[in-house]
Symmetry: C2
Subunit: 187 residues, 2 copies
């Protein structure tokens, strides 16, 4: 998680990043992915192309960075009153978002960059959300699986099926959550 957590908020570097990310998102929304280039993004962002090359190196590194930022959760998981309910609601929404066209493109962009920093940040965001649900559940006195167990039993099958097979529907996601919760109760 430590790598490239982003520049100090409000500084010049942060303003450049926000502007370049915004420009990339705007272009991706209105033209085909294959037509997006660093000079176009620079023009849209009002910076020189060399600013982008210096900071991100290559287009796919910038697009990976944009995708990771988009995958950063902007709110805590819904509190439904139980750990099982919270995990189910979170997992259903995660599966739906990741299997959308936009979600699939984000995953591809994150995986296309060199090195594992971007993917690890995504996995870290997911682990944080699960941690929030787990702490609430434990505070209520409920049994709840370890975060690693939720990653293996719930998140991994959702992502694997999106990438290599057919996306799982809500029923199958519900089964994964039920299995993980049953295992936690058996411990």
């Amino acid at each position: 998680m430590g790598d490239r957590e982003g520049p100090r908020p409000g500084g010049r570097s942060a303003r450049v990043q926000a502007s370049v990310h915004g420009a990339a998102r705007a272009l991706l929304a209105r033209m085909d992915r294959a037509q997006v280039t660093i000079p176009l993004i620079a023009a849209e962002a009002g910076v020189t192309p060399s600013t982008i090359y210096r900071r991100w190196g290559e287009l796919h590194e910038l697009l990976a960075d944009v995708a990771v930022e988009r995958l950063r959760p902007d709110m805590a998981p819904a509190d439904t009153g139980s750990g099982r309910g919270d995990l189910l609601a979170w997992a259903e929404q995660y599966a739906e978002e990741m299997s959308s066209d936009l979600g699939r493109r984000m995953i591809r962009d994150v995986l296309a960059a060199e090195g594992g920093a971007g993917p690890r940040r995504c996995c870290g965001y997911v682990a944080e959300q699960i941690g929030v649900i787990a702490r609430r559940a434990l505070a209520r006195g409920e049994a709840f699986p370890e975060t690693d167990a939720v990653l293996d039993r719930v998140v991994a099958p959702i992502v694997y099926r999106i990438l290599f097979d057919e996306a799982l529907g809500p029923d199958r996601v519900g089964d994964l959550v039920a299995t993980a919760m049953a295992e936690a109760r058996r411990r």
Copy 2:
């Protein structure tokens, strides 16, 4: 699984494919991935570039095709005398191969192409291998999990961790296999 299973063996089209795949593998082995181009592959294979463009369209489609072929298993899973042993041996080898530099590049190449045909073929190869192990286990009268359960409980975490986190070591892979087998016995 049906898409692009490959041309009739021995025909002209099959010879072109074998020659182009071989050329791509040879170039990937001796130069940096970013330097490999369709004209270079064509020269190495002794075909015209237009033959490659006509058949594969773009470089990353060809490299995805080469990667899928490399991920096709060339032998049945080892028979260790029990379903549990067979699955453990297969999963350990799969985790090791996929987390190697070559394995990671194959996964990335497969995922980089448009459409889901390549990834689905890879998932199909894995399901076939698990099916062989399952049929042997059932013939011995052993309990064995459904193929889908093995994909969710064993294969998905192995692949997810390679892509988004740290590759799982043999101990963690052993735990995944043990959990899947315990679940099959409880059914």
